[in-house]
Symmetry: D3
């Protein structure tokens, strides 16, 4: 179970509220690279964890930390929205830039939320929990977490770069540091479990004798281009798991043209798809 | 641009069509771990690739391969649906198990598709392109690809295990091998670019002097539990990027309770939220 | 910020694991009547709360409680999935009902989650954060919360009724009690702020002189039926806010047929929609 | 069944077409607080109504009224879009502000709809029918309706305040009055059925002897903060349903740490999650 | 504006309630081929109609008819759900098939709706208003309507075929007839406006001199296959609009390999993507 | 299976990069009228095609062409984004219009994609595969394809009109020509199969003796308006399929008021909905 503290994990302040920046911040709350996603992802991984208890505990701890990050960013959005125009009087009078401000912000920050954060991205698309990856396989989950923290830190750096508000920059200097750690943390689990040699291919519990190993370390060239084919670490030398040798070859069809049965009478295709007559008719028409 | 060949990349056949297995296969087509996702993900990464041309070419090649995988699986679905009941006559007469078959399959395989595949997962949820990750940062993208191929191979192994149809098992032995290669392929790019030391933290182009490095390699314990805290590769020793030393510490609030401004008059909160009088009234009522 | 405790808020156990019941439980996790929704709803209301601080604190407390409910239900799902079949060998051999079990469960509990909970409803539709209501108006939010806890308790009672597992029934006896309290809690805020007379209409900060009060307490009959019209507390007597008298009247159009301008030339409607000639042509054709 | 009249329920006109305001209006059409939602919600509640026929009739009448509201707002959008720029010629020539107008509007009003309304919110997110609540429990449905009309009227007041077009203000003065009535109407059903005492907790048909009543009227404090706890109408005094006494207590874990079984061999977790050896290995590595 | 009549457009009855058939019927309510879609599509086309008034009136009339169809189908769902099991007692006792019934139905028909219809498809995916096509171009809209009524009638025929309940078959005999008419109705508008010659290409208001007419009537062969290319009405003879002659040709790239600029320094790609050094480094590593 | 060529199908260039135009272009990539939709639609129709092989081949060819169109448009987006501001330094210094540019573009083009295309529409709503129509009925599919190419060409013409960049205009002149052909191509299949007379009603394999033909060619007037009813090609004369005569009649209810059974005791409606007592109580209260 869980407890709250009304204080924030790290100070959040804004010196110059900026409703457009509030819109940008939403990407870090409800975007697929954002904090709601990692929070729920780590929670569902923890709650479904089968195997070593330590990973359940670690995931619970970090998921709990992430609630505090959503809280920090939601507070940042609310603070950046203070002073945003809410009425036509403001647009017409006093503030000549109120109209521009309103057009630059997400109007639903006012219309739907009364000048506060939404669980949505910077285009107003609500977060959708299909982005919560918890596969039951620890290594697959760790890489999903690394991906989340990598795109998350890229986003955070872009948002850092798009403001010169000292409060916002300070908040990001903390959150970016946490993303640094979390990238390390999930990769450290892979290392702790033996790294590439022990963990690859994922899942490592499927007998490789069941896979068609002729194709397990081959880079396929699908290009019709006649120039030099792509080469790199992935086309020659030992594979990263030490179980094979990289090769490169041109991809060719090994299968045949598929043939599906005719539609069944009560499946309600067109008659011409179904009957022999239909096929003949169609062929005849084609000849004319 | 692109070309097609009516033949399949690898043979697809089913010895005992099974409409329930057709439903399971859908997860590998339109699930978040499925082939539509990786296909579009590699294409959008290629089309937006800025930097070394070789990665654009590699991504294009592998994206093109993936179209052929969607095709193989869609063919497998259509073949597994042959013989599925389409009318009440079948249910009432001849085949006593037709009702059970119909209840086990996704009825939309008949109702919406006429016994063919849908671009959806095994619960009938359509694939949604928010799952296509293409961040503009090669390392972040590579880890997103590793995550996709890892959850994808876990899924493929589960589907292999849930059938004893020789045709289906043969198809999976090929597709699982390709997932093995693709996990290698994306990790090889990370290695080619220098591995953890050069690539972490992602993005490696953000000056770490801008982050609050006091928090960059610290594992936070958020638990109120008094037992032994979690320890592991991520709580001590050098960080994986060689730029810090892992530590562990109890998380405490460094910020204050946030205070938001009162609602603006035309924001249409309740009066009690806005006015001083409202606050006093509310306090008085509370005393009674 | 937040803290976790590895123990559950209330015991969760299952005496007879039932993978079909695991599917039903998902509605209480990721359904619109479920726990993810109330958890995030109370958090976003708290984080955006403007006005009396006590409501922020109350919302934070109850939001935090709700994380523990998601955790309890996710644990219940994982426990009900133990023993579910994962491979064709089980289907073919030992357990003759394994096939029926697999067909009754959500196969993605195995395929995507490795026998654990998903942040989705019982049809596998992922939770979507557009269901998080936080309007900035406390009274509107409280009624949204009452609605969530009312449909939530109806769901919980149905789930209680669909099991005879003592562990599951005990868990529900606790969660249903909490729903009872939470219905009370949000309605108590309305009462504390003065009840119908002070709080209605919502928002109470909009001057009713700006609304067309001729229509503010009138029930419209839109039926062409000539029988007795509907009557009730809402068609006569004083309105609940004490500011009007209920009436009932037949609805009639007060506006005119709307006329939209012709399409602009570069808006690329069909020619016949745009030109005078088009209109004449169309009329002439109509005459024939 | 249903009939139409080409005239509008109430006059809709706009004196100064404003494409940006057309975008704002969309929230009242296809937003979660909007008219499509209440229209479909009341229809589905009516069509599934079991119990007193009068509520079916009432719901049908008001659902039918709401179609006319969608129509009014869609007309308002189309009128506000008249004059919006549709071509680069306009941008370059005559109207120097055409570019600003185009950037402020939702470009899909032109691109997808040819200057007309869309069934979407003001961010262009399409309405999704998961927002249609019809639970089969009349009281739960009534509170869902109150919530919809409360957030709806808050939105309407904000939109009233964001325009000074007399036609738009007149339209809103009518629609806001209707929201006033509809809030009353649904609460009047609760009163008619006996109010809090008879209707709470919802559903009132579940025997409270089956719930763990020790927790039915208790406010849980989940905060680790040592300051004064939250108090209010919900922490002391008789409960609103007259069936209990409010209390407040600190939340503590009553359950234990959950233990899930190890992954099954064919569930394709990592080996380290499954085997005893895996666990030992992991423990050993942890010691180093 | 609109009026209702409590009677149905056509009788709906079910002789043998079948909860599984209730699930199938949902596809015709909230599926993309279903009635909510056509209802809203025709309404939004009507409300945004610019040009000949008669089409607005026609669309309004048919949209209004479609509300009655949703009502008929929702009634059919509710009737088919009568008798469905709602509690474990039923499962354990009296009715030995109750468990099978529950597993075959959509459990949310009970859990979320109390044995009534949902605005969702037969997999429980809620209808999403992005399927409402109203382009502002009458001919494009008419073809969207033909597509909707064609897939709709295919679905209706499949549902007719999947029941032997006389009441359900009678209901479908009516609804299928209405789909027949509606296919005709929208195609008749195309004919009334001059058919292929006048209406194609859509939009007919764009000057074809602006298109690269070298490619306007050419079928592209993209296949690498060396067999006989596809031929048909679309590869030779006059085009249907009488403005060209069909041809067929092999598709070849006319463009060049695209070159995107390097990432900007603050866009936070990896360093290796950005710098000249990065490129050199990468090339060198590649050589090793 | 499939092959790629690094060159584009047709040249794509932009003379004046315009980040706002990049946003508009997204509608043609990930909008419902866009290229991802037709690409996947033609592929799924091909992969599930039952009946004449020529249509499978044709669909495969054109689907493959469409990948190249997504590629062209994604390249166009990336080129239009070059030069877009990525950092606050640009906003503050050098470029006084950088702020305006940033506010006009979709900020996620930078935040999520690093200045490249997204698989989403111009409002940032991701493409959702429920828009992929593949019904198993060739005629229904052809009309779905005509609808897609018609709304697609309307969109393309609007986008052509909204730019004066010669490169962009040239690209559109090609893509608009291809839409012209594709409209022809799908309609030609209908003609090839016999046109209206043979193909209507769709499906033509359902015996019309099973439909209630009294209603098959009747236009229903649902309007209460007393003016002249709508007339046109669809109200008189022979039907387009030659199988009936159009008529027009006033719609009247042929069914009765539906009566649903009372809620079952364990379905957890309110007591007042269920019991006879409840009904009496409710009636009595109503009388007071």
């Amino acid at each position: 179970m869980y407890y709250c503290d009304p204080r924030l994990q790290y100070p959040v302040r804004t010196d110059k509220p900026d409703p457009f920046y509030a819109r940008l911040l939403q990407q870090a709350i409800g975007g697929v690279e954002g904090e709601i996603r990692v929070c729920l992802q780590y929670f569902f991984q923890a709650w479904g964890q089968r195997g070593p208890k330590k990973y359940r505990d670690m995931l619970l701890n970090t998921a709990t930390e992430e609630i505090g990050h959503i809280e920090m960013l939601s507070t940042a959005v609310a603070l950046n929205l203070e002073g945003a125009p809410v009425a036509q009087q403001e647009l017409a009078a006093g503030d000549p830039v109120a109209g521009a401000v309103l057009r630059g912000m997400n109007p639903r920050h006012l219309l739907s939320a009364g000048l506060a954060a939404l669980p949505e991205n910077s285009d107003g698309v609500p977060f959708n929990c299909s982005h919560v990856y918890a596969s039951g396989n620890t290594a697959a989950d760790m890489y999903a977490n690394v991906a989340a923290e990598s795109t998350g830190r890229v986003l955070a750096c872009r948002l850092y770069s798009l403001t010169d508000d000292p409060g916002m920059k300070d908040m990001w200097s903390f959150l970016i540091a946490r993303d640094t750690m979390h990238q390390q943390q999930w990769l450290a689990v892979i290392e702790e479990l033996g790294g590439y040699k022990d963990q690859l291919p994922i899942p490592n519990s499927f007998p490789q004798s069941n896979e068609n190993t002729k194709f397990s370390y081959v880079y396929f060239q699908n290009s019709v281009d006649n120039g030099a084919p792509v080469t790199g670490r992935f086309t020659e030398g030992p594979s990263l798991d030490g179980k094979g040798e990289f090769q490169s070859q041109k991809n060719v069809p090994l299968g045949q043209e598929p043939t599906l049965a005719s539609p069944k009478p009560n499946g309600f295709a067109q008659k011409e798809q179904m009957s022999v007559m239909g096929k003949v008719t169609s062929a005849l028409k084609n000849l004319v």
